[in-house]
Point group: C2
Chain length 320, copies 2
């Protein structure tokens, strides 16, 4: 890791939080809590060329440009560190993006390269891990020692906390979406039966479109159709709920969390998701410690908030 050019030197400064996604990249300034300033969203830059570092280099260039834009927009705000998060497999301790099928990098040293390009100290984390950490420190998972924050959107993944500490598995933990469940189908990851193929927001929209022959505007519309009596939509939602309950029942058997916090796009379904999920999960449990099912509190920018918290830790001298 690049030595932190200003590590711990500017505790009163703001930080730049950047959430690189498969389609869009979000950025904002943060000053310690859950409040974000100057939130921006722009298409994620495409790589130039196809060298092994092209995908990572595109992110570095975009972060440097966003830093300039945020500085220009708020010239009197000092930016003291950068918190970058991304999807895929992330080695947070080493500051390296292990692999992202979607964004195309493999073994890219983000902390080192972003620090070199910007002159600022940098943290690099997993998007779901950062959202989970934000919920753990400021949101629905606050006050629990053993808690799992599941983000259900395009995929299904989780940030796991045991005894108040993150369980990272070297960057590989929490991949609930790639565990097999009854009703799961072949998955682009190469395995079959993956929860993500039936229980993610993406799968709900795709499966309904396929069975009805009608395109929909995401899982939210499928939930609305199910509530209005559409049987195909109800069946797709049922399959998703059963798959999610099954996957979570294994999480409960293995980890016994006190609470499971549901975030991501699918959490917008509210009680229409929570009530049947609770029933389905309960039916799979016996001697287990039964977790509370809660919804995330910090909304779709939870990852950005978590990225800001980590960069803030760096400024305060308690982060990497």
């Amino acid at each position: 890791m690049q030595p932190n050019p200003q590590g711990g030197a500017d505790p009163g400064a703001a930080v730049l939080a950047v959430d690189v996604g498969g389609t869009d990249t979000k950025s904002a300034l943060a000053t310690g809590g859950s409040e974000l300033l100057d939130v921006r969203r722009a298409p994620t830059d495409r790589p130039v060329g196809d060298g092994p570092d092209a995908a990572g280099d595109a992110v570095v260039a975009q972060v440097a440009r966003l830093l300039a834009e945020h500085r220009a927009a708020r010239p009197r705000t000092r930016i003291g560190a950068i918190g970058l998060i991304a999807p895929g497999l992330v080695d947070e301790a080493a500051g390296v993006g292990i692999y992202s099928a979607n964004l195309g990098w493999s073994g890219y040293p983000f902390v080192e390269r972003v620090a070199a390009a910007t002159g600022l100290p940098v943290t690099f984390g997993h998007d779901v891990g950062a959202a989970g950490e934000a919920e753990f420190r400021l949101g629905a998972a606050r006050g629990y020692a053993d808690v799992v924050v599941t983000i259900i959107g395009t995929g299904v993944a989780a940030a796991i906390f045991s005894d108040g500490r993150r369980v990272s598995g070297g960057g590989y933990a929490g991949e609930l979406g790639h565990a097999s469940v009854p009703g799961g189908a072949d998955c682009p990851c190469g395995a079959s039966g993956c929860l993500e193929t039936v229980g993610s927001a993406g799968a709900i929209a795709r499966r309904y479109a396929r069975s009805s022959g009608r395109e929909v505007d995401g899982a939210r519309e499928v939930f609305a159709l199910a509530a209005a009596g559409d049987r195909l939509a109800a069946a797709v939602v049922d399959d998703a709920v059963r798959g999610l309950a099954y996957g979570l029942s294994h999480v409960v058997s293995v980890l016994a969390p006190e609470a499971i916090v549901i975030g991501g796009g699918l959490s917008a379904a509210g009680e229409q998701l929570r009530a049947p999920l609770q029933r389905s999960l309960d039916s799979l449990l016996s001697i287990h410690r039964r977790p509370r099912l809660l919804f995330a509190e910090l909304g779709p920018d939870a990852g950005l908030i978590g990225a800001g918290l980590r960069a803030g830790d760096l400024l305060a001298g308690s982060g990497r």
Copy 2:
């Protein structure tokens, strides 16, 4: 918890390790490593009467008697602490047996009562947790930070380590045997599809006896029959392997351990278990961190060794 009558006062002493089982209770003296002295096995005392504390009280009385017997056998060995372990749900931090269906207690304060009966400092732990801790400190799991030790015998349970620390879930973690797998049947625990009904050593013997109409001497005989070409035995072993691989694939997705250590009675099957289990597990994984499948090294007394280690920690002042 009872104050430790001699806590930290006698670091050169031996400890008494006691492993209370559903049928037999094992005991031994230990002095710090994996060596056990004066190993004894006796039927577990039945409770006298049926008061709410009868089951726990029977254990306390047996431990006090065993202490006297070990002292009589080795009059020149000072015994400075007791490490007690038991099955079921265990709150190790509070020193309480939460629940044991098999042995019949519920919310019994073992540390307090054994300390009061013997005048010695006491630790109380889960049998699988203690075996896992012994493998983690002295056996096959040594050197791994993220590792799962699975004990497959009458049941299927695991001790989980993340970043070198035990994941306990308040005493409820690691209950792999009570997670649903394809091919699982109704379970005495009240759930259905539990791994324990198909993948445990007990289930292998029972399922073969039922399908063949012939009693067998445990899972070991079923493995021997399968190796000798018995198709029913081979099918029962196949079902067990597939159930175990399925359960472990969820462990891998959730925790991403570097290694999974297999202990307990079923580990005696050796490569006849490991090779197909590895193949079956590999077929369920894709982007995951693939764990090494290893066998436990400390044998059937691993739990007793772990109980001794914990009691030793107490003497050394680093335990409870």
